[in-house]
Symmetry: C2
Subunit: 298 residues, 2 copies
């Protein structure tokens, strides 16, 4: 029993987990958690995905009825942001007292705001695993997706120390690294390192695509540089629209900063000053190297 | 003997090749051409690179004196753009009559303009292999770099049919695919699929880097999306400054188009209209998929 009077399962091995949303993230989490819990259930609106996941033995039971969460100690919401925000209004009616709610949403402040308004019988933690792919759906789920990824955890007013211990065990079980931080802080950072790369990638795909529409040789010459820089543009537009809209102020600030940077770069090219241009580009290279050193990837 | 009265070597096997500039591109070409020519020489201003390349048996002779090109039937200029343009003024004095000049510069119109003014005893073709890495120098040279890459060839007024046949054999020998096109056409395309990805990548590195300077957790959360989108920002600033400056009009047009696209995206986020935003992002995704289909990479 913790201070709120509910029994926390004695570790993941005694916990029944229900994942709501078997897309890329939820599906990958299901694969990574397989055989590490006392039971793995899933809710997904698509019944063929449910059938697929049970048939493959990834989960023991799956269906499109949210009431299934009533069988779980830990419920993980792994849907796009818009659905997530709606589910946070609906799911409380089905949860058993003392159940722990974790979400995987990419923007945290709107989630935490909703978690703070949940009934006091529910415990809730915000989560955001910093991993992904530009493809979506259970078909692309990958048990290794979470390996070595930072997994942000944000406390809500419904977070007790015991719930954090259990969630941290879950994060460790999928080989991610838990990093606790404030929701607003998280949202500012992901605007710069996740939403902005996507926005720039989409801008590139649109600019090059419009040129290719008039000149098909454009695609013939596009090579590894275009491939990597435009990769994120392949992400699902529904998921991405939700992320951009629910984190609008921070995302707009990041896009505006990038636009100013591009305008400054254009100015240096127009001036034709190789020394000033070299200094500008060296600063960009320096930051990229700084990140490489910070993550020890080369 | 071709129509200009010079003897074209009977294929690559009878050709002595001299590569000027043993950086990533020249070094990789040397590795890829090893044992496919009658002799492989190199000129590089850095004597330790010359020593390295001969010691490893990549070339039979290397030095910092441009006069070495006099021993070759085919001279390949593989330096950054600025040096390349200077070399095109200087190299003619050392070439033997009938020698074939090929360059690997990333911008073609200024090169072709200079080639057109070479003595009539010299034959010259512009080239641009569409491959690269964000690292530079002979230490990173890779015999496989050219494999399956498009290799643009641009005719100059010094290009004869026979020279094109020999250059195409060389392109095939390194497993690239020759694509002939007009220099101005090439320069418009690379602005969109090569310079623009670099400019966006640099803008991302600068925006995220400035945030990271104030908040080190920024780097901790930066993951695969940031990694791929910022990869090109790691490119050598000297080489890139040359590319941006020598192709300024087309590069500025591309940056300006990207700026407008980003402003349009920001407008849709501000309006908060999920349907219009979804349509915008779907168009970007569609173009990315179009490129994937065009190159059959998935």
């Amino acid at each position: 029993m913790d201070e709120s009077g509910f029994t926390t399962p004695n570790g993941l091995k005694e916990t029944v987990v229900c994942i709501v949303g078997l897309g890329l993230m939820g599906g990958s989490l299901a694969l990574a958690l397989k055989e590490r819990t006392a039971g793995l259930l899933a809710v997904d609106k698509d019944l063929s995905t449910c059938w697929n996941a049970t048939e493959k033995g990834v989960v023991s039971q799956a269906g499109d009825d949210l009431a299934l969460v009533n069988k779980a100690n830990v419920v993980i919401l792994a849907t796009p942001m818009r659905v997530l925000l709606r589910l946070l209004d609906e799911v409380a009616a089905y949860l058993k007292p003392g159940a722990l709610l974790l979400d995987l949403g990419s923007v945290k402040q709107p989630i935490i705001d909703k978690m703070n308004r949940l009934p006091e019988s529910i415990r809730a933690v915000g989560g955001h695993p910093m991993c992904g792919k530009e493809v979506s759906g259970f078909a692309h789920a990958d048990a290794e997706l979470f390996r070595n990824a930072p997994f942000v955890l944000c406390r809500s007013e419904r977070t007790t120390p015991e719930t954090l211990v259990l969630v941290e065990e879950l994060v460790k079980a999928v080989d991610s690294r838990a990093i606790e931080m404030d929701a607003a802080h998280h949202d500012r950072i992901v605007a710069a390192i996740s939403a902005l790369p996507y926005a720039l990638s989409a801008a590139l795909a649109l600019a090059a695509g419009e040129q290719a529409a008039e000149d098909p040789l454009t695609w013939t010459l596009a090579s590894s540089g275009f491939r990597d820089t435009s990769r994120l543009a392949g992400s699902g537009p529904m998921v991405m629209a939700d992320i951009l809209l629910t984190n609008a102020p921070a995302v707009l600030a990041s896009i505006s900063q990038a636009n100013e940077t591009l305008a400054a770069l254009a100015g240096l090219i127009e001036q034709g000053d190789p020394v000033a241009l070299h200094a500008f580009l060296s600063r960009a290279q320096g930051y990229r190297h700084e990140w490489e050193e910070a993550t020890q990837i080369l």
